[in-house]
Symmetry: C2
Subunit: 130 residues, 2 copies
Amino acid sequence: MSIDPTSIIDFEKGGGLVAAIAQDETTGEILMVAYMNEESLRLTLEKREVVYWTRSRQKLWHKGEESGNVQKLKGMYVDCDGDAIVLKVEQVGGAACHTGKRNCFFRRIDAGEIEDVGLQVFDPDEVYGK
Amino acid sequence: MSIDPTSIIDFEKGGGLVAAIAQDETTGEILMVAYMNEESLRLTLEKREVVYWTRSRQKLWHKGEESGNVQKLKGMYVDCDGDAIVLKVEQVGGAACHTGKRNCFFRRIDAGEIEDVGLQVFDPDEVYGK
């Protein structure tokens, strides 16, 4: 029996959006967190490359469309209450963050301290131009 | 120099909340996604146990307060644009999900298919009562 996967996802709770976490399928590293609406989720399943919805630019965002660093979809998982998605991906280019870091979570914070623990993979000025 | 960690977090973008992803610090498994407001983030850093803000119940939520399955904080990371947090945790009891599964992302979805791939750790009726 064919089931519509979006039927188990609760888009209403987050005003039409669900949080989507991209995780490197081999290392388990959390690369980034963004959001998806229903259309971006359908497109991701169709293309097998990740398409988000950007909250700041209010549009569909085919990750890597400019830099070439697309995320190839290897698996999609929805959580117990249907308002978050984990995307197992192969990150082309080895860096998910627009800063050129491997992942977006390069700032470790603690009471009174912020430390940059990121690994720089590319120079964003070269990739995106000025 | 002492810095307020919340100064680099953008609570406004998400209406006072940021997404918080709990990741098992040893296996890298993504356990769950929930939300934090500024108070819950401060409490988490103070207690060294994770405190979320529940959107459905609209209150602070010290994870594990009822079941005993608290999340011990091992590290906190903020992303490039300050609207998401990764929490490296030790999950007491071995299960993060209220269903008794190890993690909340136990439903693999694909075009036309939904598959339960979760590992049951406890019986929720026994832990939470009826």
